[in-house]
């Protein structure tokens, strides 16, 4: 509050001006020796990644320096790196940010010629939803799949059973009905949880109604019957009073206490539940998302890109190749709990042994990326959430709210 934020903004531009001026002659990355690699991984700790690349360092003689970037700082860090021209050699890219990063022109193009010497990087090795052209921006591939993430339905089997529900809901209609039943348990109980910050959920609902949010010309289009049905579902859950309305609701606590015994979330929630409430083991489970027409879910995760001005392109690609080895991907799952993107790794028996991972793998097979618009989090997804939440939270007129959404998002290119 005391600091002058607007000055910070101006200063950033100034720094950009000064540093961009010398970037042509400046260094690419911190790799002064030419044999070192700097890798930016997203998260709070680099310990797991350091351990993962240790064998690679020993074999290749390349010193890999890992820098952990907290998710909240990712945008700022990347902006500064683009402005100064001095980024890492390899960078982890959340798929929702891929388009922005690619548009900045800071990433190396990884076309067939560039990766021909690295057999593990061939598109056919990866899950179809993120492989090759699926994550190409404007026809150019600038990243390689790294970890995947999907959304599945979490449910408290014990609470559902007590309420007379024997199987988790298989369709969204069933889910809405079950949520109503569960809400009727009593004061302070709900049936389902809608995270107010989750812009993917209404999209998943639209896909499940057999719809698309991108038209045939590759532009965002929410004005479709399937989306309308998804809005009915989304607002219906609120109208039934089956979901909590407070924005600071804690989904992990809500699930553990049983306040919200069902929700759609990612594998990270499973880890959080297992850690916070090991005694719940066996009282909850996951299954594929409810269907209407389809049971499509969200495919999220991260890719890895190579910084365009890296001085160690061969080393960077070598590292990417190493990280795409099925056994390394399995090792990463064991260390960090993140799902592989390499098909062979997903088939590994260590993963298949876990029934929950079997559900994730099954769901991954019918999962899709959010449209690669220039700024999903800050623009398209935000507009989507703002309009839906204004209807359910502040009682805004549905038609007006949707009209605003249509006009603000139509024409946004998703290619």
């Amino acid at each position: 509050m005391k600091r002058m934020r607007w000055l910070a903004l101006g200063t950033a531009a100034l720094v950009a001006a000064t540093l961009a001026g010398c970037s042509s002659s400046g260094s690419g990355g911190d790799s002064s020796a030419g044999k070192d690699l700097t890798v930016w991984v997203m998260g709070d700790s680099s310990a797991h990644f350091d351990a993962l690349v240790k064998p690679f360092e020993e074999k290749s003689g390349i010193d890999v320096k890992t820098v952990a970037i907290p998710w909240d700082n990712v945008d700022q860090k990347f902006t500064t790196a683009v402005a100064s021209g001095s980024g890492p050699d390899v960078i982890q890219i959340g798929l929702s940010k891929l388009r922005t990063y690619a548009d900045s022109g800071a990433l190396l193009t990884l076309d067939d010629a560039a990766i021909s010497d690295y057999p593990n990087l061939a598109a056919s090795n990866f899950v179809d939803g993120v492989a090759g052209d699926a994550t190409a921006i404007g026809g150019k591939i600038v990243s390689m799949p790294w970890v995947s993430d999907t959304r599945v339905l979490f449910y408290r089997s014990d609470i559902l059973k007590t309420a007379g529900i024997d199987a988790p809901p298989a369709t969204w209609d069933e889910l809405r009905a079950d949520a109503k039943t569960l809400t009727a348990r009593g004061d302070g109980s709900y049936g389902y949880y809608v995270p107010q910050w989750d812009s993917a959920l209404p999209v998943i609902m639209t896909w499940d109604q057999g719809g698309e949010i991108v038209d045939s010309k590759g532009k965002i289009d929410f004005d479709t019957p399937a989306f309308d049905k998804a809005v009915d579902l989304y607002t219906g859950l609120y109208a039934d009073k089956s979901v909590p309305t407070n924005s600071d609701f804690d989904q992990t606590q809500g699930f553990i206490t049983g306040t919200t015994p069902m929700l759609v979330s990612g594998p990270y929630l499973a880890a959080a539940i297992a850690q916070a409430a090991p005694e719940l083991e066996g009282k909850w489970n996951v299954t594929t998302v409810p269907a209407a027409d389809k049971d499509t879910s969200l495919l999220a995760g991260s890719n890895l890109g190579v910084w365009g001005s890296t001085k160690n392109k061969a080393g960077a690609l070598q590292l990417l190749d190493y990280l795409s080895q099925p056994d390394v991907q399995v090792k990463w799952y064991e260390a960090d709990g993140q799902l592989p993107t390499v098909k062979k790794a997903l088939e590994d028996e260590k993963l298949a042994a876990d029934p929950m991972v079997a559900v994730y793998t099954k769901q991954l097979a019918s999962s899709r990326l959010l449209p690669l618009v220039p700024n999903w989090d800050g623009e398209t997804g935000k507009a989507l959430l703002d309009s839906l939440n204004s209807i359910v939270l502040t009682g805004a007129n549905r038609d007006d709210a949707l009209k605003t959404l249509f006009t603000t998002t139509s024409g946004t290119s998703a290619k």
Binding site: L9, G85, N246
Partner: protein
Amino acid sequence: MNPDGARRHGPPRIAGHEAMKTRLVPYTFVAPAMLLLIAFGILPIAVALLVSFTDMNLAGLGDWSRIQFVGGDNYATLFADPAFWQALGNTALFAVIGVPSVIVLSLVIALALNRSQGRFFRALRSFYFVPAITAIVAVALVWGYLYNTQFGLFNYLLSVVGLPPVPWLSDPTVVKFSVVLVAVWRGLGLNVIIFLAALQGVPKEYLEAAAIDGASGVRRTVSIVLPLLRFAIFFVTITTVIAWLQFFDEPFVLTKGGPLGASTSIALFLYQKGFSSSQFGYASAGSVVLVAIIAIITVVQLRLRRSDVDY
């Protein structure tokens, strides 16, 4: 600062370069401060002004040839953007509630603390200063838990006396007051210290003379202390107004500006546009508008002060 003045005080006829030297002396003294001000104050504003007429984004940052001048487009979009007006309205509301609260409360606390120099009162001084030096992230974490609808302390206390829970950070109206409360609590410490320092400058003789004349404690405070604190109050008012117009930390860490932009201040709006959406041109246009607003309000305050009587 006045070269003519310098010459008038010097010897009547001196050699040319001597006069030059004398004239340069004051400038060498102010130069370091000036340079810093230009480099970190004026220049960034000038750059922001320039950028506000372009469509600069992340792509343009990496490759300058992709930046185009768009004239006043950013300003036209800005003034037609409901989110901008919402943020501006929120900021006005924050300032209207926050500024008087901070000034009055910190003045009252300072006056109360000044009544004694005892050990207990000295401990209280540090107590009031603690919020000002606590990291905002820690503050947000603790207040986030206090405010939490599910397991927060405030709602627990309400439930104890049989009141329904309040959605402190979820209701678009309540959230505005929730973030202001945290900011007021945080903002008190520094101003209390400033007022306490100013209170040391109130001559004891005046107060004693008034006491001998039979003036009550309230009377002495209102007629002697407060008028002598005029400059401190003026200073605190200006800095507090500017701080509240740049209100950022509390909504950023507590609510990220939500729900539905209900707690988004103008500075947070600029941050979201600039650093989350990478629309540097657009954000710069907004920051230029904010600078203009702050400048106008500050000039008005200075003008009002000019007509003031000095003791």
